[in-house]
Each structure stands twice: as C-alpha cells, then as structure tokens.
Amino acid sequence: MAAAAATAASKGNGGGGGRAGAGEASSSRKKKGPGPLATAYLVIYNVVMTAGWLVIAVGLVRAYLAKGSYHSLYYSIEKPLKFFQTGALLEILHCAIGIVPSSVVLTSFQVMSRVFLIWAVTHSVKESGHISLKKEKVKNRLQTPLKTWKLERQTTVCQMAELKVQSEDSVLLFVIAWTITEIIRYSFYTFSLLNHLPYLIKWARYTLFIVLYPMGVSGELLTIYAALPFVRQAGLYSISLPNKYNFSFDYYAFLILIMISYIPIFPQLYFHMIHQRRKILSHTEEHKKFE
C-alpha cells in the first residue's frame, strides 16, 4: 500500500512536478506552478532523492554480488533507506506551503505509511537474542486437613525471543519495489520541473507499477505478518490496564487492523493508477500522431 500510494497519488503533470489531483498532461490547461526559487529548490530536492534511491539500488546489487545470496540484504542498505525514506516527510511540507499542487492529506497518508513500515515495523522488531520479561500468575492448590486452599502468586518469567523481521525475504521484496518506484518517480518530477520529460520516464512511471505495486504490497504484508509473533510476545508498543491514565493500546491488534485495511485500499489505488495510465499514455500517443 505504501508502495502503491506513492505511485498512485502522484499523477503525472506536465509542469508542476507535483502529485496533481487530476493528472492532465494537456498543455492547454493553465498551470500555475511554483515560483523560480521554489522550482530550483524542488529540482535539487528531487535530484537528491533520485540519487539517494540510486545509492540504495547500487548498494543492493553490490551486497548481492558480495554475499552471493539475496538473503538479509536489508542490513547493507539500512541506513540510506531510513534516511531517504524518512526525508520524504518533506513532501508533506511542500504540499502544505503550496509549492507542490497535491493534497496534504493524501501525501501525508502515503509518506506516513512508508515511514511506519520502516520504523515501527522493520526497525522496531529487532534482532534475535531479545530477552523479554513477563509477569505470570501461577495458581496452586494446597490441601490441608480441613480445607482446600487456592493460592495465586506472581512470578517473573524470562523468555528469549528469537524472532526478528529484518532478515525476512519479504523485506527485500518491498525494498526492491520501493527503490525502483522511487528512482522513476523522483526523476519524473525532476524532468517535469525542467519541462523536458522523456517519454521513457513517463511510460515507466505509468507501466511498471503494474508489477511493482503488487510486489511492494506483498512484501509489506508479509513483513507485518512476520512481525506479529514478536509483537505479541514482547508486548511491543502496547499498554495494558490498569494504569493511571485509564488507557490501553494493543499494537498486535493494531497491526492486524492495518493489514485488513489493505483490502479496501489496495484495489482502489491500483485501479485508479490503471485508469490514469490509460488516460495519460493514450493522450500522449494522440499528441505524437499530430506531430
């Protein structure tokens, strides 16, 4: 979903370099666009992001060649992945101050879902060797001549959690999907801002999602699923009653709700992108005919 939302909400716009709502590539439409200073900043931003995701792509390839296997490649690109994906939070700011003509709400949603997956799932569900302490109630019965006693005491139980998510293959699945998507997306914006968009980039942006979106979603869902046992056992990010603020939060249930939310959201975004593809790529074909 984070993979798809990033492609879906950002529809092609000839000039604005933004996630335009209508996504018309028609030159007859009035484009306000950002001022020259904002444009310069946005070009730099998009170039830096393109470069960043290229670094991640190269890092993955090199690690694969060095290791000889595709397992646990996450560790070799962990830092740039965290840096550049978190950096995308700036895009919310861009919408808020108006230099990018996209909806703040939509952009927030997609960036936050990515950041959530990176930090609250992949990063947080840590390495093996995690020791968790749990309080358990132990019940005993004591038989004395005249009475049977029911006893209850609390003891602390020490458990080794050998569960982690970072070495799961599902992580590689969404990292690859995101990497390819973002390289294309940021170069798309860069070229759009410079008013020189090669058809290849536009084509790539509106075609590759057909494979990358389901790939990314699968990777994300499998990763969350893999994280569940750990979260349950460690009580990660969860608060239980009683406490003085009379509040509780079950991160395990929350993750399940997140997974369920993919069901209505994924098809909507996917078919929207397909619809956009038909509109934008056929439009360009027509333009080419008249050249």
Binding site: L241, P242, N243, K244, Y245, N246, F247, S248
Partner: protein, 317 residues
C-alpha cells in the same frame, strides 16, 4: 387573466431551469409571479421532477455560482424576461433535527451499556456488576446529563437556519460521536479503572468546572435563541445579557463552544482518562474551525462588530 379578449402577456415571468453540468433543459415554467420566491419556484420544479424535493435543489444564476436563497424574490434577480436558473442536485437530504437526535441519543445509550456492564464487553464474571468507585457513578450522571441536555435543546431550544444537510453526514457524525462514546465508556466503566490521582479533591474541582460550563453552554444557547424570533432567519450580533454566563460574549464570538470545551476538560480531569482528553482535543479542534468561520462571517456581515472578541478562546484564538 383574460380581459375583454386580450391576453395580458406582461403578467407573469418565464423561468427555465437547466442542469448546471449538462445544460440540459429540465423545466420551463410559464407565467411565474414576479413576486415569487425561489422557494416557490423550487416547489413548482418539484411538481415536474418529484424525485428532486426542494431541500435537495440548489438553484443558481451561474452554473458555478453560489446558490440562491429561498427568500430571494424573482423580480429582484438580475435576469431578463426569461430567467435562466441552473440546477444542481445536492443529494439526498436529512433534517438537522433528525441528525442531532440520532447522534446524541447514541452516546447516551451506549455509555449506559458499558456502565451497567452488559455481557460480552468485559469478562463474564463482571456482567451486570457495579463499580466500587464513586467517581464512576458520578461520571455516568455527568455524561448522561450532558447528552440529555443536548437532546432537549435540539427539541426545544435551537432555531436552525438550515433545514437539512446531506444524508452522508449522519453516518460520519454518528461514527464520531458513537465511536468516541464507546471508547471512553469502555475505560471509565472498566473493572480495572484507576480513580484520579488526587482523589476527591480532583473530582470536586472537575465537577465544579463541568457544572459551570454546562450552565454556561445552556445560557448561551438560550441567549442565541432569544436573538432570533420563531420562524425567522434574521441574523444579529449576540450581546451579553443579565445572565453572568453570557458575559463571555464580551470576549468571544462563540462562547457556547468555549463552554463546551470546558465541560469536556472538566470531564477529562474528573475521570483522568486519556481517551476523554483525546476526545476533548478533537472536539476543540473542530469547534475552533467552526468558531473561526462564524467569527469571520460576523465580521463580514456587521461593520460594527466588537473588535475585542476572539473566536473561541479569550485573547488567544
């Protein structure tokens, strides 16, 4: 009227109604009284298109312009002998009163389900048990009082300027009110509920805040009602009255919202429950948006609007 065989063409205007999106001619009204109001034209339109009852009609002079008001008179509009009006369907409508009654009755009922610990909410050993904390009983009284007050005000106090709102609003609003009520009620009436840290002192203070704000909110509602005679849609600047609770009008445009936030803050302190605090925060955000809008329209409508007033928080917001 036919007089001596001559048909007087001057009596009665012509009105044609076109679809704002497709420009399709939907209706042609002949011989409309120049004195006719938009409301009357809407009624005539409904006769030819009964599925579009007046409440869901938006008629305007320009397809992308503002809706004409029901009270506007045909003669006073900038049109020629044939008035062209554009129609937009506002969608299924529901009356404000219905929405308010539904969205307020829900929390009242739902909270009580949790208070009485109806089965399948908490563990079976707690079914129909009662909390041993006084504050839990007090909270139930306050919460119930609040929503009973709201229901009665909807029925007997409020004078609505709009009759209806879009149907989808009732689902949105009810989800919000009912959802939060269930969430709050779950924790306050939970068998593992923890009473406030500072005990009876905290509860007493919170109760005082709550009661004062409830009285304040009610006073403002009454003052606003007296501002507008029954059946009219006149708009006037509200001013403080003899009731000290209304003196907040000196500092704030929408003291009813101020008091409402105050009530919920009181309730949050009384129950020391984080979901209540979150509900207060969300409510405050929404009411601030409404207050700012109301404040802006007051300023636009009245040249002599008191400059000291802020929308919702004295001097600040």
């Amino acid at each position: 009227r036919l007089r001596g065989g001559v048909w007087n063409q001057e009596k009665g205007d012509k009105v044609e109604i076109l679809d704002a999106k497709t420009r399709e001619k939907l209706c042609f009204l002949d011989k409309v009284e120049p004195q006719a109001t938009i409301a009357e034209i809407k009624n005539l339109f409904t006769k030819t298109h009964p599925q579009w009852y007046p409440a869901r009609q938006s008629l305007r002079l320009d397809p992308k312009g503002k809706s004409l008001k029901d009270e506007d008179v045909l003669q006073k509009l900038p049109v020629g002998t044939t008035a062209t009006l554009y129609f937009r369907d506002l969608g299924a409508q529901i009356s404000w009163v219905t929405v308010f009654l539904t969205e307020y009755a829900g929390p009242l009922f739902i909270y009580l389900l949790f208070y009485f610990r109806v089965p399948f909410i908490y563990g079976h050993k707690y079914d129909f048990t009662s909390s041993r904390h006084t504050v839990v009983h007090l909270a139930c009284i306050c919460h119930s009082f609040h929503y009973i007050k709201r229901l009665l005000e909807t029925l007997f106090v409020h004078r609505f300027s709009h009759g209806t709102m879009p149907l989808r609003n009732i689902f949105k609003n009810c989800t919000y009110y009912w959802g939060f009520a269930a969430w709050m009620a779950y924790y306050i009436n939970h068998p593992l509920y923890t009473p406030p840290t500072y005990g009876a002192q905290q509860v007493k203070l919170a109760l005082a805040i709550f009661v004062i704000c409830q009285l304040g909110n009610f006073s403002i509602h009454m003052a606003l009602r007296d501002l507008r005679p029954a059946g009219s849609k006149t708009r006037k600047i509200p001013y403080p009255t003899k009731n000290p609770f209304t003196w907040l009008f000196l500092l704030v445009s929408c003291p009813n919202y101020t008091y409402e936030v105050g009530s919920w803050i009181g309730f949050a302190i009384m129950t020391q429950c984080l979901p209540v605090a979150l509900f207060s925060l969300v409510g405050f955000t929404q009411m601030t948006i409404w207050a700012k809008g109301k404040h802006r329209s007051y300023l636009k409508e009245f040249r002599d609007y008191p400059p000291l007033r802020m929308p919702i928080i004295p001097f600040l917001l």
